[in-house]
Symmetry: C2
Subunit: 315 residues, 2 copies
DNA sequence: TCGATTTATTGAAACGTTTCATTACAATAG
DNA sequence: CTATTGTAATGAAACGTTTCAATAAATCGA
């Protein structure tokens, strides 16, 4: 910037003004400075800028699985909301590992981001509380807590909707597939499922816990599904995996032998081999709301209601 | 850091050494300093750090569509490779808009990232060349160019593979669906398709250009597919959209009336209503290779070969 | 023409680190 | 006991911006 100032024969402060408050600078001067900038190929150093400002114009978003379309949809919603405030969203992937999540939070904290939106992989939020005490602005996404602002979906209601639907179409032997159950969202979906069961006699619920919520995890379980007539998978990826396994074996017909229901209603749910019934979460709105909550000084908890989308997999 | 130094009764430089080169500091002192850090909740300011260092430990990755699983797979590959060098990948979405892409490149350039991996949305790479001249380290992803290092896939070969397969299973009236054709990858896939056509008589190829490569774009074209017996879609999302439209109408049976082939072989291709034949690109390896190329000082162009994966949609 | 007001420009200080030449201290050898 | 070597700790300078009080220049009214 010093070089630009020298070439344009103005003071350092003037160059800064051209960059940040051009309306304060006379047109003639502004043009002189712009020319110098172009001639020298000057690019403003963001580190110095932030150092002085004490704050960046970025927001960190940490999701447990970028490959899950639900989270990229959330990310898009957050991006759109952030852009209206001239902020950028930086997306990071914790891959369901608490240690990776922690190091991404630390990275963002060192970067003095405006805030961090995080969908925590583990149960223990202690390290987040500490970061909050240090002044980091945190909003939980897809998870509720009294100590942070949060945007979540009523997963108990979602689980209830799903299993109630299975019961209504006459299914008796139902499986819940998903995990790890230590993840609150998943535990809640299971709790909702159990609630629906207790309201009905003659219906059984078996829990099959998986280590992750991925297509692979679902696919690996295919042959175990013979014992059931209805399955509630904790997300669409698992449901799609189960569906694939059933198709490969060819022994189980969906929906006749097995009614299948997923969670999230990702775009691909409607495009599955058998279009998948699913519990829709308003993903983009979740991202949007999370950005809004960043601006709020008090703790606020926004909860959306899920919605059942019925398709061929539970005809 | 000054506060930490004061509390621990050491000099500023010693605190810095504890943080960066602890082996240089006597254990007693180190512990004193660590205690002070914990007591004060000190978090290193990354802006100042970078300002001094002149370089960050981040790499920017700009993709045209985060919702396309192909690109998130590339991102995962890049992340893994970057992590081994203790670098972080920041993912940004250009949404196929050149202006957004440019502003993300500018943001990363201002952040003095180690390098930018970009899968350009537009044809014109002039602004990237300028950034390169200014010293920005750029690797093109999924695009070839003599003026940048790049990692790409031989799309002409991919297009050829796809259409040759359609011809071999006896299809005569073939459509190419995708766009915009100004995107080189898509143009190359079409060129490969044309090459396969010219080698065979009695086979026709019609081009249906779309404005984007999305599920929606494919879905909107469903009814136009009646005139063909084979379709090569420029990516899997478009193919899945076409498939959805055919299912909704119910008039066109895949693969009997219409053989359908996609591109990318995303996870969901095998889970589609009719499992989708596709041309596989080695997505994670692409991300990996791009990170490797960042370290190379000379311009290098890595090109992978695509692979045909045959499934039920072209049985 | 002169003082008052408005508009433009200036440049030093500060932001929070890392670096590195210097100094202080301790251990060892002769 | 001194000289030598090695190990620890120090603190000023520098990184590249933004800010803001101070100054200079231009405009205005009477």
């Amino acid at each position: 910037m010093q070089d630009v100032a020298k070439l344009a024969k103005v003071a350092l402060g003037t160059v800064s003004n051209v960059l940040n408050q051009p309306e304060l600078v006379a047109e003639k001067t502004r043009i002189k400075v712009q020319d110098a900038i172009n001639q020298l190929g000057f690019v403003r150093n963001d580190a110095a800028r932030q150092l002085r400002a004490g704050q960046s114009r970025s927001i960190g978003l940490i999701v447990p699985d970028v490959r899950n379309p639900f989270f990229t949809d959330v990310a898009r919603g957050a991006e759109d909301a952030a852009n209206t405030q001239n902020l950028s969203v930086l997306l990071a992937n914790s891959d369901d590992e608490v240690s990776r999540e922690q190091s991404m939070v630390a990275l963002f904290e060192e970067q003095r981001v405006r805030g961090v939106l995080v969908s925590p992989a583990g149960e223990d939020l202690e390290y987040l509380k500490q970061a909050k005490r240090r002044g980091l602005n945190i909003v939980l996404v897809d998870r509720k807590s009294k100590e942070f602002s949060s945007v979540s979906v009523d997963d108990v209601a979602g689980g209830y909707l799903a299993v109630k639907h299975l019961i209504e179409i006459g299914k008796k032997k139902i499986a819940f597939v998903g995990g790890p159950l230590s993840v609150p969202q998943i535990a809640d979906r299971l709790a909702g499922a159990r609630k629906a069961i207790t309201e009905n006699e003659n219906v059984s619920l078996e829990v099959i816990e998986t280590s992750t919520l991925s297509v692979q995890a679902g696919r690996a379980l295919g042959n175990q599904m013979k014992n059931f007539d209805g399955v509630f998978a904790a997300n669409d990826l698992v449901a799609i995996g189960i569906m694939q396994a059933c198709m490969v074996d060819g022994e189980i017909n969906i929906p006749n032998d097995l009614a299948l229901i997923g969670y999230d209603d990702i775009d691909f749910a409607s495009a599955a081999i058998v279009p998948l019934t699913s519990v829709r979460q308003p993903s983009a709105e979740i991202g949007n709301a999370a950005i809004e909550l960043l601006n709020s000084s008090e703790i606020r908890n926004v909860e959306f209601q899920p919605e059942l989308v019925i398709r061929a997999s539970t005809n």
